[in-house]
Amino acid sequence: MTTKEKVDYSHIPPAVGCSNDGEPIIQVRNIRKWYQVNKALPFIGKIDWLKAVDDVSFDVTPGKTIGLVGESGCGKTTTAKMVLGLEEPTTDGEVPIGQIYFEGEDVKTLTNAGRKEMRRSVQAVFQDPWSSLNPRMRVSTIIAEPLEINTTMTKKERDTRAGDLLGEVGLNPYQGNLYPHEFSGGQRQRIGIARALALNPKLIVLDEPVSALDVSIRAQIMNLLVDLQEEHNLAYILIAHNLATVRYMCHKTAVMYLGVVQEYGDTEAIFAKPTHLYTNALISAALPSHPDIVRDEIVLPGEVVSPVNPPPGDVFMSRTPLEVRKNHIYTKERPPLVEIGKDHYVVETPWSTVTGHDLSEFHLSVDEAM
């Protein structure tokens, strides 16, 4: 491995909640993914944009996990895909430009060598351990595949490394001779993790890594991920629906709604004082860990709205039970994240937070929620 000189972060644009501390591996600044959902005629029709991700910024640092949480369709996977280089951030036409930096360098201007280095350094493990492994390949070949593509290791060296990796994820090296169908769900997820580890990555994107697994296996995999993180100083981006998983695994958390981060910061700061109404609604709906814990639910009016042509102002506007004042600036303009505590940021408008309210005000009945 080449030793790198100290990374220069001075040119990275500032973003709320992001500092250059901790030598970030990845820095995301104001990225957007807008999908064009109709074909507009030149000069006539207006383009309909599906704003899957709209102006998201965060830093990913070694040894730390950042959680992206929010309901289905809020843009978690799309964000991760952009970090992985599987999707390009949208920058054409009327869309403002955002950047992704890999160790201080804009990924768009990386050299070939830099690009290769990034591909090695950023790996992914997906939700479904059933479909993400090639059924016709032996497990050792699956694990060694990235080595074959990205290194000059010999077959023998690769096999040895695959055996080591199997051991590292709690499987037996001889199991490398088996095929994926000979493993259980939890074991397959271990294989996926071993494969992601093959090239000594710095960051692994984990998209719902345990939600398809049996409850009795989830703790095994979460603990394995935590151990590997400590051992290799890995950074994780963890995507999850489950808030308890996020609290267990993540140092930082970004709560997303409709492509926009609504609350961001230190995980414990957020759970100690959840401030955005949406965060509170998610927490109130989460399942209790004991029958004596009874949470009064906050049921937000309406349903998650379509991300096609969202309103120009606050995207959460249509879900708040609070009054939205007509002509308020944030009905027309995106409200920014505001620092409300140590490493704790929230989108603040008169209608989007619980600040100044008693939570019981929001415990809506089912009828009112429909």
């Binding site: 309901e71 289905s72 259980s184 769900g185 074991q187 939600s211 398809a212 049996d214 409850v215 009795s216 296996i217 703790a219 095994q220 979460m222 603990n223 935590v226 629906h241 489950n242 808030l243 308890a244 609290r247 267990y248 695994m249 759970f271 609604a281 998610l282 927490i283 709906a285 989460a286 399942l287 209790p288 860990s289 004991h290 029958p291 814990i293 009874v294 009064d296 639910e297 049921v299 937000l300 009016p301 349903e303 249509s318 039970p321 609070l322 009054e323 939205v324 100044g356 309210h357 008693d358 019981s360 005000e361 929001f362 415990h363 809506l364 009945s365 089912v366 009828d367 009112e368 429909m370």
Partner: protein, 366 residues
């Protein structure tokens, strides 16, 4: 959606009277057993051998009660439910023994045509995924109406009125208009309610809710759970809730049966299960889930894999994964389900129950 001002001074949108169902208070249980399953056995013949998917299951539910059936994938939860409904496909499956006593008679003994009216009548199954349960090419009236038509033998205007009434019961606004919609025209939450309306249209005495493994959004799941509670309070039905998730058990159930490898290993009131679990498997399932309410330290985990049912260890099938130290010969003893404390049942094995000695007088191998 009409927006309402809810600023502090003008209005407090607190819950209305009569809507305490969404507060998840204890359900009103009547002291009347509606369904009793006795020593139910269901086998599958596979090329690897006989799978005892449901290996002598016994439990009962009372009117208004919610019984949770929890256990990992493949433990036989759905097979037990399908056996109760007599929906096991034969071959490869076969109900090999036992009784299912519903409203006083053994429904394993009645004719298939009688069973057809029991299914979706006295006992009905609700699926959590509304898209799976609804047919996209028929409108809501057709689908709810079909269920009502079968069991209540009504047609035309009466049927229509009953459809609208059923939709109102699950609080679908503008029910007359909605009844003419197709599934895709409804929101997810609304579709769930339609499925609920179908489920209760026959006024079932027992509802089986089999939750698939797929993870739903928390808010959608919460709405589904609210709906079930609401249906229960409206109909007084007993609910058998099949789940992987002890969080659902904590929120929904009065009593819990924990299944492992085709058998019940522990059964008790929900608080008793959470506060004083006796079986190591129950302890592990409860302990291995991270908590939302506090920052959890390293999670205790259950090592090993769920067993293959065609290749079960002879005696205590949980023994290989048990954290307790035990003598190999004890693992060969097939443990019995005993009543350790009043209404607290445990499959008593030296390998899987730490307090074995306390209860050993209750078994022949003690």
């Amino acid at each position: 959606m009409v927006k309402k001002a809810a600023s502090k001074t003008t209005k407090k949108p607190t819950a209305k009277k009569g809507l305490d169902t969404d507060r998840f208070g204890p359900s009103t249980i009547r002291d009347e057993v509606v369904l009793e399953v006795k020593n139910l056995q269901t086998n599958f013949t596979t090329k690897w051998g006989t799978v005892k998917a449901c290996d002598g299951i016994s439990y009962s539910v009372k009117r208004g009660e919610t019984l949770g059936i929890v256990g990992e994938s493949g433990s036989g939860k759905s097979v037990t439910a399908l056996s109760i409904m007599r929906l096991i496909q034969s071959p490869p499956g076969e109900i090999a023994g036992g009784e299912v006593i519903l409203n006083g008679r053994d429904i394993l003994q009645i004719s298939e045509s009688q069973m057809t009216s029991v299914r979706g009548g006295e006992i009905s199954m609700i699926l959590q995924d509304p898209m799976q349960a609804l047919n996209p090419v028929f409108d809501i009236n057709d689908q709810v109406g079909e269920a009502i038509g079968i069991h209540q033998k009504v047609r035309g205007k009466t049927r229509w009125e009953k459809v609208v009434d059923a939709l109102r019961k699950v609080r679908i606004p503008a029910a007359e208009t909605r009844a003419k919609d197709y599934p895709h025209q409804l929101s997810g939450g609304m579709r769930q309610r339609v499925v609920g309306a179908i489920g209760i249209s026959s006024n079932p005495d027992v509802i089986i809710a089999d939750e698939p493994t797929t993870s739903l959004d928390v808010t959608i799941q919460a709405a589904y759970l609210r709906l079930l509670k609401q249906i229960q309070s409206e109909t007084g039905a007993a609910i058998i809730f099949i789940t992987h998730d002890f969080g659902i058990v904590a929120k929904m159930c009065d009593r819990v049966a924990v299944m492992y490898a085709g058998r019940i290993v522990e059964m008790a009131d929900v608080r008793e299960i959470f506060n004083n679990p006796l079986h190591e498997y129950t302890k592990a399932l409860i302990g291995s889930v991270p908590k939302l309410e506090e920052k959890t330290g390293r999670l205790p985990q259950i090592d090993g894999q769920p067993p293959l049912l065609y290749d079960l260890p002879q005696g205590d099938s949980f023994a290989p994964r048990s954290p307790l130290k035990y003598d190999e010969k004890d693992a060969l003893i097939r443990p019995e389900l005993i009543e350790a404390k009043p209404n607290h049942f445990v499959q008593l094995s030296r390998c899987s129950v730490k307090d074995f000695d306390k209860y050993k007088d209750k078994v022949s191998y003690g």
